[in-house]
Symmetry: C2
Subunit: 229 residues, 2 copies
């Protein structure tokens, strides 16, 4: 999305936790594409460490779902089928729905005001067709809702899922009318939260996030082709 430093040799002293971050960035930014093999020895050379920390990093990425490890066959960047994507969006939609519900129950007036302002930022960028800024503002809006839910566990799970789906959400930003629709949907969600209407907040947020609601499966399929190869 931003910097393209990926795949370059790394400086020395990269330790396990750094490794994880760099590899994760490479995968999420698309420098490493789904299906790419992750050779332990090659990575060890690239990062100037031994295979041990590389293995640990790969295991970690595997359990967060970004790579797939098969016994004696090494690791590869996990690729998602359209079906899996739809499933994941369905779950994400529900969790964000829960977050919105909790906001409706717990959010202070001043926080709601901040939320509204975040959406107004989205609106400005949508009006000017500035996708990059809109994407950032949109992310901030959703983050604010997750924080407002005051459920750390929910926030972490949401973050994990959102991370894995980030690339797809990014591409969706470019769908015609998607940005202005989003702003409108955000607006209704804020309203529901403001009047403490849990059911409405939940329902609106779910519909907002759930791809299927907009029958966008075709988009997904197109994206899949683009991203996977």
């Amino acid at each position: 999305m931003a910097s393209d430093v990926a795949t370059e040799p790394q400086a020395h002293g990269a330790s396990s936790s750094n490794l994880i971050r760099v590899l994760e960035d490479d995968i999420l930014s698309g420098a490493l594409r789904p299906g790419d093999r992750l050779d332990e020895q090659a990575l060890a050379r690239r990062f100037s460490v031994s295979r041990t920390p590389v293995r640990e990093a790969l295991r970690h990425l595997a359990s967060s779902g970004l790579v797939e490890i098969r016994r004696n066959q090494g690791a590869m960047v996990r690729s998602l089928t359209t079906g899996e994507l739809v499933e994941m969006f369905q779950v994400l939609a529900e969790m964000q729905g829960l977050a919105a519900r909790l906001c409706a129950r717990r959010m202070s007036r001043s926080k709601v005001k901040e939320l509204r302002q975040l959406n107004e930022a989205c609106e400005r960028y949508a009006d000017r067709d500035e996708h990059v800024q809109f994407f950032a503002a949109n992310t901030e809006f959703h983050d604010a809702i997750e924080r407002g839910a005051q459920n750390s566990f929910l926030m972490e799970e949401n973050a994990k899922l959102a991370k894995r789906l980030r690339a797809y959400r990014w591409h969706m930003t470019f769908q015609p009318r998607r940005m202005s629709n989003s702003v409108e949907e955000h607006f209704r969600i804020v309203e529901a939260i403001e009047r403490g209407d849990e059911e409405a907040a939940h329902k609106l947020m779910r519909a907002h996030v759930d791809l299927l609601a907009g029958s966008a499966t075709d988009v997904l399929i197109a994206l899949e082709a683009k991203i996977n190869g």
Copy 2:
């Protein structure tokens, strides 16, 4: 819950994936209690392997949330605060709610019938106050709903969470009237699914699973906010 083979020395040849299972069992069965330290070398001796596979197993358990690893300080069985528990039950409730919703949308008549039979099994055990069998039957009922949702990702996430919360659900089985209440709630859920009422199925299931469906959670959070400023 069942066999008490834990903490005994293990036969040779236990490889990484076995290790994970055994350690997991030890933690989930309570043989290893929250806060217990997991010494790599001790475990290596106990399983007659070197530290390397032990480390991998511990890393894996860490990322599934069962143990906590701090750099240079080893691993310990993770203990959950009341707050975390409430948060996790809230998320589990929502996900099971989604599963119920999808069942209402997708489940065939014959599958609904099976579901009803599973709940009738629950009812029999509840009537006779047989907690162990009830717990098993209850688990089967919920598993059937997860399968019925036909969303593999949701099923996996549910399974992970349910695993971590299993011990607590077990204890809840012994709450007075809990079993008969469960049966009644199950019954209403099955009815909602049968008539395809997504909203009702979702709502009923969420209430069924959420520990503190009442407002206790919010009181807690309000208090915390007050105390912490």
